[in-house]
Symmetry: C2
Subunit: 207 residues, 2 copies
């Protein structure tokens, strides 16, 4: 049934998931589900944790930086595949997510970061990975087809809403060609900003 819930949510999203539809998919009335599950929050918590369980534990023999980096990227990919799971507060925090948190804190600690830095680093990285991925996979480009059916210039589109906003119009112009800017993916660019900053907090390895 957990499998059915996950597939259904992949198809219809978290908003579209309902006990009635889930029952229907299982060939059963919605009310029967309450014999196996506490309620909707229970199933949402379970399927979100199932996505967390897809990210492999980091290699403890790698450097702290490589562990954090590859875990963040693996998590990012899992959320790209299941965008509805990219959420700060699922109804409950399951064991898979707890294990991921433990791995990250262990890597920071073993890497020699001061406790205060490790404490904040954990929240900063979580916020960045979930935040950026959520933002990225939820984005839908604005509809640029004008009332006459022709494509609007970003400049006039932006102006129609907010007035004279030249930098914003230029920014929208770069959509779709951002990979050609020579900086790699936006996600990794930001991730490395954070990790580089953390590296400068490792005592004994200044730079």
């Amino acid at each position: 049934m957990l499998q059915a819930a996950l597939e259904l949510t992949d198809e219809v999203g978290l908003e579209g998931l309902s006990m009635r539809k889930l029952g229907q998919r299982l060939g059963v009335e919605a009310m029967s589900l309450y014999n196996h599950v506490d309620g909707k929050d229970d199933v949402v918590g379970a399927i979100v944790d199932a996505v967390w369980s897809l990210v492999p534990a980091p290699d403890p023999s790698a450097s702290w930086r490589e562990q954090l980096r590859s875990s963040a990227i693996d998590l990012h990919h899992a959320f790209v595949r299941h965008p509805w799971a990219c959420v700060f507060f699922p109804p409950s925090v399951g064991p898979a997510r707890l294990r991921a948190m433990e791995s990250m804190l262990r890597a920071l600690h073993d890497g020699g970061l001061p406790a205060a830095v490790a404490y904040h680093a954990h929240h900063v990285i979580d916020a960045y990975v979930i935040g950026f991925t959520h933002q990225m996979s939820g984005y839908v480009p604005p509809d640029l087809t004008g009332p006459d059916g022709k494509e609007l210039d970003p400049k006039v589109y932006v102006q129609s809403i907010g007035g004279e906003l030249p930098h914003l119009a230029e920014h929208i112009d770069l959509h779709g060609v951002e990979e050609s800017l020579g900086l790699g993916s936006g996600f990794e660019f930001g991730l490395d900003l954070v990790l580089d900053g953390l590296a400068r907090h490792v005592p004994g390895e200044p730079r």
Copy 2:
């Protein structure tokens, strides 16, 4: 009416906001609202943009770094006051948010950051500010009162869910005393990691 919607949402949250309750507060049936507004998405988009309008435009004579930093902190505070507005995708992006985006992109451009860096920086900072603030203000500490009414040790609480997770237990122990770690707020710590990283991309000012 926009004012009433904002106050109501401050009280009951975004989940609690309904056309019926909003009508009730205005002394009118819910269906009357559709004469003044396109639908619920319309009012949510409007009140979210009203919160964005609370953050002042940055001082253009300040350095790009100071502009970004103080805008991010102002936005953070606005979202702490109105947590329901701290959302990546409101039903619509209003003029206040567009103006904030323009100010940020202008500061990055005038500060001499390469176009590719400015492009990604915008998304990274947005993701971080919204992500961290959302995470922070939505967090509710786990209920540590055991079945006998006594307070559980974080170690045994964490173990009851996920097994042996020593670093996570230690992390939970630091909750509430994180301000005493000597690194300032977690939000500003992460923000400075990002801004410091961006500063190293300014050509001609190596370091």
